[in-house]
Amino acid sequence: MIPKEYRNLAFFSLIIVLILGAAGGYFFNAHNKDLEEKPLGEIAANEADPAVWGIYYPKHYDSYLENFKNTAQPSHFETKPYMKQIYAGLGFAEEFNEPRGHVYTLEDIRKVHPTRYKTGAACNTCKSSQIPEMINKYGEDYYLKSFEEVNSQLKHPIACLDCHDPKTMDLRISRPALIQAFERQGKDITKATRQEMRSLVCAQCHVTYYFQPNTKKLTFPWDKGVKADQILAYFDEKKFSEWNHPDAGTGLAKTRHAEYETFMDSTHQSAGLACADCHMPYVKQGNVKVSSHNWQSPLNNIEQSCTVCHREGVDWLKTRVKDIQAKTKEVQDIAGEAVVQAINELKVAKDTPGVNQELLQQAQEMHRKGQWYLDYVMVTNGYGFHNPTESINNLSKAIDYAHKSVQLAREAVKKTS
């Protein structure tokens, strides 16, 4: 028993110890919260409507809605007048505008020049969240349907379901072409790490592709690799030409926005970055951070996309990027003019009676290569910034092949029999 005179002291000591203990426990807890990660709500397996996802993920949805502000649609012909001659014989020569944001995919494709619908249903593949459902419904027949038959069933543009699993919110690949391209390369896409997935979900659409003859199946020409020379080698081996140039008579392959392919092995990619690191930076929204779903040029929000790593300041960074882009554009214009010159010389040679056919054929072969390397850079967004050295490298090849084509075409005329 505690002596009486110490009883009060003991009592207060006990209270103080208890209070200190409770306070200590509280602060320890408050500073040591385990990160809670769980889906915020149950979303139906095929829910293509982004507004439904927005109920559970309002902050992400808000940033998604920002895409509506991306409305500029300048024509490529304004800055690249040589495109018209280069694409002669294709729908692209009639009209080729910069697209608006992801939320306008359906609206924009419905307004495009009608000559570009002739491929059929496959053109819808990257325009709506409902496509995986359509491919499930029709199987391989999907690609053989008419553009209109599939398009009339589509309501929602590119949205959440294209990249997210509605149950777990994990990133997922919804387009078969990418999964199959990996399979043909002997790679398993389900083994991709989170960081790889943050590029691969973009690679479902921001890649070059072609439609297989007869089946019209949408295919990524990556069997030999994703680089310009490897893809061209793939097409050469298959003797594949998408169209014959009406003036030059050359059988040509067409590149599409090869952003993923170009980005691979670039400085930023080899340093471990993914598309999302620059195009979907983490932004503060109130008391949390979310990955922005407003897909745009990182130059529009350098503070979030670049300065987190690069501390040199917004102005300096912008100058560096603009410098790379301007210099790439300058070389691209030279390459564009060179290819146009090749086309003109080939036209003269082709129309010359008794022209040396062997040399003409060689000239056309050089034209095919030159135009391919030019196109690979020209239609890839970013004016070379996704991989500056590679872009300049490809453009240099384009110029060289175009010049060789011009030379061979002239020789072919000289050696007229």
Partner: protein, 142 residues
């Protein structure tokens, strides 16, 4: 013999208790001024003292595991390792955090900023990036 063993156990116990003491915040053994004395990291200390983190976090808050026993043990280990490096003049030109140190840092980022990152999640998961892969000048240069 038995007495010697008792002394030894006693000594080990006191050493262990002393080691645990290094984690008591009031002693300030997590502060840059103290750590910077042996860990030859002047550049890091100087830039840290100009960063926002100086107001809310010490060296140990980020670089030492939070648990009492694990934290104290890790601290004793790195402290000894770096003292030896200083004494033998083998400190590397370029100081790099070890693999274990990286994981400790990541955990400590989330310990404070976890609520803020509730929707983003642990970016390191499934071979992802560490926070400091991008935030590489926070809270000190290099």
């Amino acid at each position: 013999m038995k007495k010697k063993l008792l002394w030894l156990v006693g000594f080990a116990f006191v050493s262990f208790a002393l080691m645990l003491l290094t984690k008591v915040p009031a002693l300030g053994l997590d502060k840059a001024e103290f750590c910077g004395q042996c860990h030859a990291m002047d550049e890091q200390v100087d830039t840290y003292l100009h960063s926002a983190h100086r107001l809310g976090a010490t060296c140990g808050d980020c670089h030492i595991p939070h648990g009492l026993v694990y934290g104290a043990t890790y601290k004793a280990y790195t402290g000894t390792r770096d003292v030896v490096a200083v004494l033998t003049d083998t400190t590397p030109q370029e100081i790099r955090v070890t693999k274990l140190g990286q994981d400790i840092l990541q955990e400590n980022c989330l310990r404070c900023h976890g609520e803020f990152l509730a929707q983003v999640g642990d970016t390191r998961k499934n071979d992802g990036k560490y926070c400091f892969d991008c935030h590489r000048s926070t809270p000190h240069q290099k």
